[in-house]
């Protein structure tokens, strides 16, 4: 079954002409037809467009184009519904953009196409990437492939579930406070949040511009390295993208990890962590040590303030970014007697509860009389959080933590209590505030029935992607958790 393959295995089969790109697309579409009624990862797929791209890839293969030239040639990659793909819907899982069709490709999509990928499907998410469970989608929740009564995580829940359920070969998501790593952990796949500025945000619908990054979700670490290498790099259409050369991640991951220093933050293994998660992470740390990494305890003293800081900074930025949805130039319009009423009715009707909550919170923390007490103070605490990491990285090469405090929770369990939902991101949020990179990869399962995946998080220095990829690859290859598949 081609849909079950990794990028590297599918590419090898395509190169040997043992399979065609058209068959690969067909295999993914068959799996979507078989399981997506239960999983709900895809908002739409455009089979005709996917086959057109597949036929072009098959022609290129027949003419002798190699995967050394185009590393993703003929490989179907699905895209979170917050990233622009020309002539495809771009709804951000929101009613306000329900009928929006993108007039252009995001930079990452151009790069995927240049690498030969088949860009297909729109993946479900929390509306405007605001959420940790994909329950905030205006078009219905995505379910966890390991137990469909549970959430897949979020906001890139569709991206993680689609990979875990073998509905695509790999996917792209976006991560503002953990939105790639948290669903990757809960669905049992690999997810990567690049250093801020590593990947262009052009064509990514903005949520919190100083925190957002696009990244890959895949079936193993090698595939993540391959996708990251393709989508990274300077882009003059995103003034925050950084002029740093892109390393050959997919080659570098094979290097050993002997002597690398790994920090274990004492603030991360405290109360509130599920015993199964705690146990799996401790065993994983011992395994990394066995592979040659040196473990030492470190301290990130402002960990406890990260969630509060995030929900000021992210909502403030969101309130400004989402001001563009006003019913004038695109999207939903609900008429009113004057322009102000038109704006308010359009936004009141078009946005879901969580988006309204965050815009109003963000407006409040920026409003006259409150700016200094909330927003400015949060920006200062952000400095302290960033300094925690930079100080720790003077002593260690990477940091190891659980990705989430618990495995996947049930649908509805936290949707009535926003604060509890926010606290489920406690281990992933600091990475975005500090602008560093992070990966989540499978490190075991709960002892419950049905068993649920557990994620290990590795955090790296700014532009230290290759270090955490090496560590993740060495760990993964020595354990094999990533080969386990949900029964669907």
């Amino acid at each position: 079954m081609l849909n079950q393959l990794t990028i590297s295995n599918l590419a090898a089969k395509l190169a040997k002409r043992e399979a065609s790109a058209r068959e690969a697309v067909q295999s993914c579409l068959d799996q979507i037809a078989r399981v997506d009624g239960r999983v709900g990862a895809f908002l739409s797929a455009d089979p005709a467009d996917a086959f057109k791209q597949a036929d072009a890839a098959d022609r290129a293969l027949a003419e002798g184009t190699t995967h050394a030239q185009k590393p993703l040639l003929g490989v179907p990659i699905a895209i979170k519904d917050v990233i622009a793909v020309k002539d495809q819907p771009l709804s951000c899982a929101s009613r306000i953009l329900q009928k929006y069709v993108s007039p252009y490709d995001a930079t990452v999509v151009e790069k995927l196409r240049a690498a030969g990928a088949i860009v297909f499907g729109r993946l479900n998410m929390d509306e405007f990437a605001m959420g940790s469970s994909t329950e905030n989608s205006a078009f219905g929740p995505t379910k966890n492939p390991w137990d469909t009564s549970r959430i897949p995580g979020g906001s890139s829940g569709g991206s993680a579930a689609a990979v875990a359920a073998d509905e695509c070969i790999g996917s792209l998501g976006s991560d503002t406070g953990g939105s790639i790593r948290q669903p990757a952990a809960l669905c049992g796949c690999v997810g990567f949040k690049p250093t801020y500025g590593r990947v262009s945000r052009y064509g990514l619908v903005a949520f919190a511009s100083s925190l957002d990054q696009i990244g890959p979700l895949t079936k193993d670490v090698r595939d993540t390295a391959t996708l990251l290498e393709v989508i990274s790099g300077l882009d003059n259409r995103d003034s925050t993208s950084v002029p740093q050369p892109v390393p050959r991640y997919a080659t570098i991951i094979g290097e050993g990890i002997k002597g690398l220093k790994l920090g274990l933050p004492k603030e991360y293994l405290v109360g509130g962590i599920d015993p199964d998660v705690n146990n799996a992470v401790r065993i994983a740390v011992a395994q990394l040590q066995k592979l040659g990494a040196e473990i030492q305890e470190i301290s990130l003293p402002h960990t406890d303030c990260a969630v509060a800081t995030y929900y000021i900074v992210a909502t403030a930025e969101a309130s400004a970014n989402l001001a563009r949805f006003d019913g004038i130039r695109y999207g939903l319009r609900v008429d009113g007697t004057d322009p102000i009423e038109l704006y308010a009715k359009t936004r009141g009707t078009g946005f879901g509860a969580e988006v309204k909550r965050r815009i109003i919170l963000g407006t409040y923390v920026l409003s006259s009389g409150y700016h200094d007490a909330y927003y400015l103070r949060a920006q200062k605490v952000r400095t302290l959080i960033q300094q925690d990491f930079l100080k720790a990285f003077e002593h260690v090469d990477a940091i190891v933590t659980p990705t989430t405090p618990t495995a996947a929770f049930t649908i509805g369990e936290k949707s009535g209590d926003p604060l509890q939902m926010y606290l489920s991101d406690i281990f992933t949020i600091s990475c975005n505030l500090a602008g560093i990179c992070g990966i989540s990869l499978p490190c075991g399962f709960t002892t419950s029935t049905p068993k649920l995946p557990i994620g290990l998080q590795l955090l790296g220095k700014p532009f230290g992607e290759e270090t955490i990829l090496k560590l993740a690859h060495a760990y993964e290859q020595s354990t094999g958790w990533h080969r386990e598949k949900p029964r669907l």
């Binding site: 009928k99 069709v101 007039p103 252009y104 250093t195 801020y196 500025g197 100083s210 003059n236 003034s239 925050t240 950084v242 303030c305 969630v307 509060a308 800081t309 929900y311 000021i312 001001a323 006003d326 019913g327 004038i328 130039r329 695109y330 999207g331 008429d335 009113g336 004057d338 102000i340 038109l342 308010a344 009715k345 936004r347 009141g348 946005f351 509860a353 309204k356 909550r357 815009i359 109003i360 919170l361 407006t363 409040y364 409003s367 400015l376 103070r377 949060a378 920006q379 200062k380 605490v381 952000r382 400095t383 302290l384 960033q386 926003p418 604060l419 926010y422 602008g435 560093i436 700014p462």
Partner: protein, 95 residues
């Protein structure tokens, strides 16, 4: 952590979001609780700490000021809720 009182109607007006009465009430309670949690930042001493707006600051990023292709008019208007004569139609603003 004590809940914080917030005038939801006023802030929703600033944000140009209309709310149903029961929606406003629920939001007010939830936001009060979230702001109560956020108060924990007041325990930190941030004197002499510089604010961070961007984790990876770049300054004076420019690109050559060249004329480049842009969206043609019909595509730029393609997603608009109301258009006429190649323009967006907006509600009457001045009498």
């Amino acid at each position: 952590m004590a809940a914080v009182d917030i005038d939801v109607h006023y802030v929703a007006h600033l944000a140009r979001i209309s709310l149903e009465p029961e929606e406003a009430q629920k939001l007010g309670a939830q936001l009060g609780q979230i702001l109560g949690y956020i108060e924990k930042l007041n325990q930190l001493d941030v004197t002499n700490v510089e604010p961070t707006a961007h984790a990876v600051p770049l300054v004076n990023v420019t690109r050559p000021d060249d004329v480049r292709p842009s969206l043609p008019n019909d595509q730029a208007l393609g997603n608009s809720p109301a258009k006429a004569n190649g323009l967006f139609v907006v509600p009457k603003i001045v009498e």
